[in-house]
Amino acid sequence: MHLKDGEIRAYQDQELQVDRSSQVEAHLASCAACRERADNLAKLSREVGLQLAATQADSRSSPVHADAGRKRFASAIQAQQEKQMMTNKIFSRGLRPVWVGLTLVVLLAISLAFPQVRAAANSFLALFRVQQIAVVQFNPQTMGMSDQAAAQIESLLSEDVQFEQFGEFQMAGSAAEAGGIAGFNVRMPEQAPDGDFDVQPGGRATFLVDLPRLKAIFDAIGKPEIDLPESLQGQPVTLEIPRQVTAYFGECKPEDAPLVEGQDPDMPQTKPWMQDACITFTQLPSPSISAPDGLDIAQLGQAYLQLLGLSEEDAARYASTVDWTTTFVLPVPYNDMTYQDVVVDGVNGTLIQQAYDPTYGSYILLWVKDGIIYSLNGYGSPDGGLQIANGLR
């Protein structure tokens, strides 16, 4: 019975138990074949040791000190916390699912860039600007995003994405004032009562492409075959969300909204003050995404649909009907919601309603006109919302 290479190797490193070690020694003394292998292994080990030693030419002259390292660590932690605070701020007001969604889109955009990326990928285009909204129905149960993928994306959001915020949250007393702060023409119905307008801060998220992490995300979403060109490493992808203006109709009184004990204030939640007599009206210039040139956007759209759980065929069929550079494809879950096309404010819009409760359930009326996204949210019958929308000046 000859010795195994691993055992010989452990013997040479004096890593065997004493009794086993002497057995091996005895065998080597009596077995020429094992002796020859042992010699070869020892020679190989010496060779590799010498070659590896090239990596430590001056490892003894270490300039490293724990105290200096501790100081750097302290400032790194502080920077992390400041970034976290900024992240929290932007994520608050329930913006987070949109970031996650848009980030996914951006990731997919990058992932599909590779066949077309040119050697000098330093020219940029405005990749995406919303001019219309389309709805795709999906089944949340078959969504292609695992917890692991979501966790990866979340850590990408908190570590690789730089957030900047434009302006502070501000209140305005009129549409003109709100428009002045937000930088676009804020529209209201002619007969609208005086009221407060909320002007939300805008934001910019810059993502420097981090290939190893993207690779991990693609593995986690079950698309390990996506291969990214190394030329993308470190390239910036920028998402800009302009300031948005929200007006309230009816008995809303958002300032009276009580903080519910034990609830995560950052998470979207049912607000007890939002009675069926309250309609919120939000307007926002289109967000835009800029990314390295050469993206195949239709392919990106198809992958996005597949991630939502659509089959490849369904995704391809749907994707071919959409202009992905101008259309925000809103995923609407089956069962929970129904949607229909409506004419609103002189253009085609979408009305989404909670399927299980048409009497008190919420509805959302969405449309895009002249580069501005409008959204009306109320409860029960959508007539009130449609009336506001159709009375806009």
């Binding site: 490193d13 190989l44 990596t55 490293v64 501790r70 959302i364």
Partner: protein
Amino acid sequence: MSETTLRMNFYKRRPAADRRGDDPSAAQAGIDFEAVFQQYWKPVCALIYRIVGDWAEAEDIALEVFLQLHNRPPSQAGPQLSGWLYRVGTNLGLNALRSRKRRTYYETQSVIQDALERPVDDAAGALERSQEMQQVQAILAEMKPRSAQLLILRQSGLSYAEVAQALSVAPGSVGTLLARAEADFARRYRRKNQG
């Protein structure tokens, strides 16, 4: 988009422990972070230096290792902690090597520049050492990560038991894995020097 669309809540909520604000900290995992930092900062830097061959980069990567320890500490503290630090350190070090490949041209240029600025006697030697180092790094970067980690950890003086612990392999299999990793390294090294 407006908060109205968000209220539809498309995306699954994360388990509470993963959400911001209630991350488990190193302290909660029973780790005396200060003591660990003082004890392991230098060894971890030295280990990463063996891979990347640059002290400033080694310290940057070590900073990452300790940030991970702070933000997402391993579930068990105690003697396994050094193994965790070595594993994460070598992992990140090798990752850095791999993502460095495309920058090789510039590095070669800067090495030549460095060499030119040195006294004549030293220049040739420095250039040769540095090329040798780049070659070793290229091989480590293309090997199976566990094999590369094994070689680095062993080279830096860890016992079989420590290596086994850091890489989550059975102590009895370290000899076999090491022999294989060495053979693999040598084969790649020869191939590079023939081609």
